[in-house]
């Protein structure tokens, strides 16, 4: 009888240790990058924690179907605020990385959520100077939205032709 009691206590003890270990293992999402930019998220914290997916779902349909481009509930803005493009050592941060230190991955992994936003959407902000960020393209010309470089005669045509053709 006593033996059984002992085993029970031992088991309980093990369970407790296990629980404590689990608790220590809860990953904390890194809120520092966002906190540096804004004191408050676009919605109250409790609300956005629970309902961010609903906000995103509504906004994605508004954007794709109706062309509404407001930034409040835009996934791009979440990424811009919460995800730093690189780690301190300069390596790229991706949602699928083993380290699971991408802002979104840190929670989703723990709660076992599978979503595929980042199969299509960029999972970190765009950084112009970072060569490994964008797909390399087989071209050496820049289109006119590039901010640098001298405009060609074609730029001037674009600026002028409305009046020219309307006369």
């Amino acid at each position: 009888m006593r033996g059984l009691q002992r085993i029970k206590f031992a088991l309980l003890g093990l369970l407790a240790i296990g629980l404590v270990a689990c608790d220590a293992g809860v990953p904390q999402p890194n809120l520092a990058p966002a906190k540096a930019k804004a004191a408050q998220c676009v919605e109250p914290t409790a609300d956005i924690r629970k309902n961010h997916m609903a906000y995103l779902n509504v906004h994605r349909d508004k954007t794709v179907i109706e062309g509404i481009r407001s930034t409040k509930h835009s996934l791009n803005e979440c990424i811009n605020c919460h995800v730093a493009p690189t780690r301190e050592d300069g390596s790229a941060v991706h949602y699928t990385d083993e380290k699971k230190d991408h802002f979104c991955a840190s929670c989703h992994t723990y709660v076992g959520v599978k979503m595929d936003c980042f199969q299509c959407h960029a999972d970190r902000p765009e950084v112009t100077k970072q060569v490994n960020y964008q797909h390399k393209l087989s071209s050496n010309t820049y289109h006119l939205s590039a901010q640098t470089g001298q405009p060609s005669a074609q730029d001037w045509l674009l600026l002028s032709t409305p009046q020219g053709a309307r006369q």
């Binding site: 991706h94 999972d123 964008q134 393209l137 087989s138 002028s160 020219g164 053709a165 309307r166």
Partner: protein, 248 residues
């Protein structure tokens, strides 16, 4: 012919005016990224309306490179054409140049072909999920959120305008999401048009391409089409395409 000559004269006159302006100001200011007069801006929280129908008029004779620079601009804007694992046949192709030769006269020319933004799009008719869609303003695109990758639309499109993404991609363009298992095609740079900017390919060939609102009779494109026409590829299909050509 006289119409064309008139058009050329206006074109040259415009060119002269610009050169003068450039000399007078002395300072070259690059304002092209800002809103274009051809694309009226819409408040960002307002939906698109069917009062507008976007269209494009491409003058093939003015495209000295047959549209190659337009294709490059599209690649750069949307990041397609260099997917790491795709074979050359599998690479996405939102826009391509096509060389046409008349068998009798041997006259040949090259033109850029992309989604023609049909008013009656077969790709929308066949889509089982509603992912292939036409926006109120006439832009045809794939809503990748609900595309199941069945590729019916690729089969239905008479212009071979659509591509399928076969592999996992990362670091896509922020403004142009594209990913495995979905179909994609030219969306008239919808992210730029919504900001009042011209599509990237139009910016790359301003001497040959006019973009604007086909529903507005005073727009530059409507005026040009009224004066010079604007033919459709495969007009026999009666799809009323939004992309029109001069010099076909």
């Amino acid at each position: 012919m006289s119409q064309i000559n008139a058009y050329r004269r206006k074109f040259l006159a415009a060119l002269g005016g610009v050169a003068a302006a450039g000399l007078a100001s002395g300072v070259i200011v690059r304002e092209v990224k800002a809103a274009s007069p051809d694309v009226p801006t819409r408040p960002e929280d307002q939906p698109v309306s069917n009062k507008v129908r976007w269209g494009m008029l491409i003058d093939i004779n003015r495209l000295t490179d047959g549209g190659a620079s337009m294709v490059e601009a599209c690649k750069r804007e949307h990041g397609w054409g260099n997917d790491p694992k795709a074979s050359p046949e599998q690479q996405a192709q939102w826009m391509r140049t096509v060389k046409v030769t008349d068998k009798l006269t041997k006259h040949s020319f090259t033109l850029p072909v992309m989604c023609q933004h049909c008013e009656e799009p077969p790709c929308v008719d066949v889509c089982p999920t509603g992912a292939s869609m036409k926006r109120a303003d006439g832009i045809v695109q794939v809503n990748k959120h609900i595309c199941i990758g069945c590729r019916y639309c690729m089969m239905a499109c008479p212009y071979k305008a659509r591509s399928f993404v076969h592999e996992n991609l990362t670091d896509q363009r922020v403004h142009s999401p594209r990913g495995i298992g979905t179909v994609e095609s030219c969306n008239l740079c919808v992210h730029r048009v919504d900001k009042g900017q011209l599509p990237a390919c139009v910016e790359a060939a301003p001497q040959a391409v006019i973009f604007g609102d086909l529903n507005d009779p005073t727009s530059r494109i409507s005026q040009a089409m009224k004066a010079l026409g604007g033919s459709q590829i495969r007009a026999d299909l009666s799809l009323n395409t939004g992309v029109r050509y001069l010099g076909l």
